[in-house]
């Protein structure tokens, strides 16, 4: 998160400052890819489509950083849905990396994630949770969105989002305990 400087950075980007836009991109892109890795096999393509739309609407955006992120991840979710519909019309072999991200359900995967604690490995571990729980956790923790924003995105009430997030975290802690992360 950029924090207090986000307003000025956004204003500069809206004025055409490439450095300011690069700052925003570098801040958001990792979280965007990690989230899209869960919901879209073609995460990088969807991310590219997302940025195209974000750039197109950047000049008209008004709001603070949290709202900006909510806007951007909502676009990403829609683009992922579009990609999913396109994928069902044109079935393709999924990418190898995407398979790794979406199927890290073994205890070995948990071990690797907890040993290295790399973002990719932990996101893979989160992806082993039920889909709604994993998505909510990623949107709340990785994307940094508020419960209300996530609720609007996924079509649930804020209370349901909270419950699902708690269940997912407990399950995730169970995976960590099985992997003996407390050592």
């Amino acid at each position: 998160m950029i924090g207090a400087a986000f307003g000025a950075t956004l204003a500069s980007a809206q004025a055409g400052d490439e450095a300011a836009f690069a700052c925003i991109f570098r801040d958001v892109q990792p979280a965007l890819l990690r989230y899209l890795g869960l919901i879209a096999p073609e995460a990088e393509d969807v991310a590219g489509d997302t940025w195209v739309q974000v750039v197109a609407g950047l000049a008209g955006f008004r709001g603070e950083e949290r709202a900006f992120r909510a806007w951007l991840f909502t676009i990403a979710r829609h683009r992922a849905a579009d990609a999913g519909r396109s994928r069902t019309r044109r079935p393709a072999v999924p990418l190898e990396m995407s398979e790794e991200v979406q199927q890290p359900v073994s205890a070995d995967t948990a071990d690797l994630a907890l040993e290295a604690l790399s973002a990719r490995a932990v996101v893979g571990l989160i992806a082993s949770l039920p889909r709604d729980q994993a998505e909510i956790i990623l949107l709340r923790v990785v994307a940094g969105l508020e419960a209300n924003d996530v609720a609007r995105m996924v079509g649930k009430t804020p209370g349901a989002v909270r419950v699902a997030a708690h269940r997912g975290l407990r399950r995730l802690a169970g995976l960590a305990e099985r992997a003996d992360v407390t050592q």
Partner: protein
Amino acid sequence: MHGEMPGFFPGRPGGEHDEPLLDMLLERRPIPPGAPPEMHDLARMLAAAAGPAESGELAGEVAAMAVFARRSSPPGISPAVSRSARRRLSGWSARGRAPLAAAVTVLTAGLGSTAAAYADVLPTPIQQFAHDTIAAPAPSGASHPSTASAASPQPSAGRQPGGAGRRQDHPAPSALAPGRGASQGPRDRQQGLDHGRKTGRNVPSCYPGHGLPQKPTPSPTKTPAPQGSGSYTWTPPSPSPQATDCVVLTTPAQPKTARPMR
């Protein structure tokens, strides 16, 4: 809720006790030091998941910056518009160049031919034609004032009658232009014919374009169908050593030999 995670947070049945901590984790706030170790491990995991960019995660920056640079151009001169405008401009320029070049060629040929006519350097029939048409000097030693009823000072295959016949009657000898196109053969041949003689011009003003007779026999070789007023006969070059590469159009009734090229 706890049913799905037995053993988690032991000693805290009911799950309500861990919810504040879970909310803190979700909001990425630091948890109290006295929280269960599982919570700390979970916090470490979530912090890693929200960590900084790893290798390859910023690979799309160049493309995104390119998109941004295109979109952030000042209105009215966006690169896309400029590109299309440039494309249109270059296309118009390319399209306009061909007619311009053709016009310049025709003008140059006309002026050159006129100048040649006034300099009395054209073959006799053409010179006579120029004399009748534009009051150029009469051909020197011309015995037949109107030997050519139609001729062009700059012959072209499309305008000269019997152009196809020439190609049929005088195929380009491969020995003279081996491995080259028809447009190259005559030039090579011309250079070969000019070899050893003093000449300041390489291309005659009435160059036939294809194949030349091997023998300077002044017999008609082709009488194509008339395309204008009267039929025309190709007359091979005159026996003059300087006229072997020049062919002119003459009427059948008045075959004339070509005037030597200078």
